[in-house]
């Protein structure tokens, strides 16, 4: 019995943590290169979710194709927002970029509200996605297992790209010292575009699994994953890609422990307890679990 509880707990933490890790990674990829907290990231996820909704509701395209187009729409919105909105302000202050990201966020939300509908729409999913499967006596929706598997594959691919390709190495260098990387011949436009493309790609993957859980899409839905991403990043560390992943899993772990241990009368305050933990992190360990290497080298 307790073995089953443990396995169920592990599956919950891993699947939720995988989703949160991808959300946090999407934020940190852009932050690492541009030092920009992209408040429009939640809307990248919303855009992808709407594409899933439209394709799933009004076309007969096969599911793999629907998911692929959904992900590519995340890539497109990431790439285009950088090209049209962020790039013209790049030489300016970080504040200008921050306000720009708010502007993109609000503009996209209004477009969804006025152009589509202010009300939420049901996102259709293939039946197998939410089918329950039994794993060593524990019943869980298949999407949880898919989520864990997809994240594992993506993380392996990202590790290979970031460590073993010249572009990946250049991006890690640029996130540590952007000017020096440019002096070594790394084109600023290239690494920033790629950072937004990866961020948009992750938003597209997140959209699939996020809306599979909620089953719907609405104009303001992006704020929840954005908030989760922030929390995961505060826990794990803003300056480190592994930190963001770790933060996602730690967040899911804490949230699940709270769900299991808090008395029912307090359970509705779970999010408040979560925020107390976040504040504690900000006070006690503001750099997060993994500090990253964004400061100067030691003097010797």
């Amino acid at each position: 019995m307790s073995g089953h509880v443990l396995l169920e707990f592990a599956i919950n933490v891993l699947s939720m943590g995988s989703l949160y890790a991808l959300i946090a990674l999407g934020l940190v990829f852009v932050f690492g290169i541009c030092k920009l907290i992209n408040f429009a990231y939640g809307e990248f996820i919303t855009v992808s979710t709407y594409v899933l909704y439209f394709l799933g509701t009004f076309t007969d395209l096969p599911w793999p194709l629907v998911f692929l187009i959904g992900i590519l729409s995340g890539v497109a919105i990431g790439f285009l927002s950088e090209l049209t909105a962020f790039r013209p302000f790049r030489g300016r202050s970080l504040d200008a970029l921050l306000v720009t990201s708010f502007a993109i966020s609000v503009i996209l939300q209004r477009i969804f509200q006025l152009g589509i509908s202010p009300r939420s729409k049901a996102v259709p999913y293939p039946a197998f996605f939410n089918m329950n499967i039994e794993l060593f006596g524990v019943v869980t929706p298949l999407r949880n297992i898919l989520m864990i598997g997809t994240t594992a594959v993506l993380l392996i691919v990202l590790v290979i790209v970031m460590n073993h390709t010249t572009l990946g190495v250049a991006m890690r260098g640029a996130s540590e010292n952007f000017v020096t990387a440019r002096l070594m011949g790394v084109p600023a436009n290239l690494v920033i575009s790629v950072a937004f493309i990866i961020s948009g790609f992750l938003a597209g993957v997140v959209a699939i699994f996020w809306s599979a859980r909620t089953g719907s899409v609405e104009p303001l839905m992006g704020s929840s994953p954005l908030l989760i991403g922030f929390i995961a990043v505060v826990i794990g560390g803003m300056h480190s890609l592994p930190g963001a992943v770790l933060g996602g899993y730690v967040y899911a772990f804490i949230a699940n422990v709270l769900s299991l241990t808090l008395p029912t009368s307090v359970l509705s305050y779970r999010d408040a307890v979560m925020f107390v933990i976040v504040i504690a992190f900000l006070v006690l360990k503001p750099e997060g679990i993994m500090r990253g290497n964004y400061q100067e080298e030691r003097v010797g």
């Binding site: 890690r172 260098g173 000017v179 440019r182 002096l183 070594m184 011949g185 790394v186 003097v299």
Partner: protein, 262 residues
């Protein structure tokens, strides 16, 4: 030699063939916000030369390197590199054209390994075969890099980081290697090593523009030198002419680095 005819026009005052002129900076004015850092600086570097820029802190030595390498945009004046007007080009474009900078404070990428640091140095000019051959060469020049090849750059000592920064600059096979205060903050032993290395690079025919506060050492190895003061070129010429003049040595070279004379 055949390229010579392209460049013949327009610069009648130029005494040497234009092919020889790697870098030509003319009347450069650079501002940090509203503060003027360079007041009409002109200088040139010819193929195979080792040119030193000396002067006290705040004289504009680093600023001129930043303006040449594209980090700062000059308000007026021009930078010509290998005969092309490159004023206002981006750092990554200039790197591609054959400039390399060894930045002040080394600025290696601390969490990247020695190998990865070198790989970035070759970005855009990367060629796996040449990279491997260069490594062999570097390992004899900088044995420490071989030992530390897979370690994070941030774990190296200051002197080792400087070796790495220089190797990172060399690996792109630049036509002009610029070094900004390579001896800064190093122990006297390391300083000797760095200057020996610069001499070795020069003997290999590499064109070097060296910015150094340690004027005594820099003048000793330079073919020509520029003395900066308050954002202007105060003196230009052979190092010998400079050190002979008592007024210059006392005012600008100041003997403040005199402790490490050999």
């Amino acid at each position: 030699m055949s390229k010579y005819s392209e460049k013949a026009s327009g610069r009648a005052h130029d005494p040497l063939p234009a092919d020889d002129l790697i870098l030509q900076v003319s009347d450069l004015h650079v501002y940090y916000g509203s503060i003027q850092a360079l007041h009409g600086v002109s200088l040139e570097v010819r193929k195979g030369e080792l040119v030193s820029i000396c002067g006290v802190n705040g004289a504009g030595k680093s600023t001129v390197l930043k303006a040449i390498s594209g980090v700062l945009k000059p308000k007026s004046g021009s930078v010509r590199f290998k005969g092309m007007d490159v004023t206002g080009k981006k750092p990554e474009q200039l790197h591609k054209l054959g400039m390399a900078l060894v930045p002040e404070g080394r600025d290696i990428f601390p969490s990247l390994t020695v190998e990865e640091n070198l790989r970035i140095g070759a970005f855009g000019r990367y060629d796996a075969k040449r990279f491997a051959a260069d490594l062999e060469d570097f390992f004899t020049l900088f044995p420490i890099l071989k030992e530390r090849y897979n370690q994070a750059g941030g774990l190296l000592s200051g002197g080792e980081q400087q070796m790495l920064a220089i190797a990172r600059g060399l690996i792109s096979h630049p036509d002009l290697l610029m070094m900004d205060e390579p001896s800064l903050g190093l122990s006297p032993n390391r300083v000797d090593q760095i200057f020996d290395l610069i001499v070795e690079l020069k003997s290999r025919g590499i064109t070097i523009l060296l910015v150094e506060q340690n004027a005594e050492r820099a003048l000793k190895i330079a073919d020509r030198a520029y003395l900066f003061s308050n954002g202007k070129v105060e003196f230009a010429g052979r190092p010998g002419d400079m050190t002979d003049r008592v007024d210059i040595t006392s005012i600008y070279l100041g003997g403040h680095e005199g402790g490490d004379a050999e």
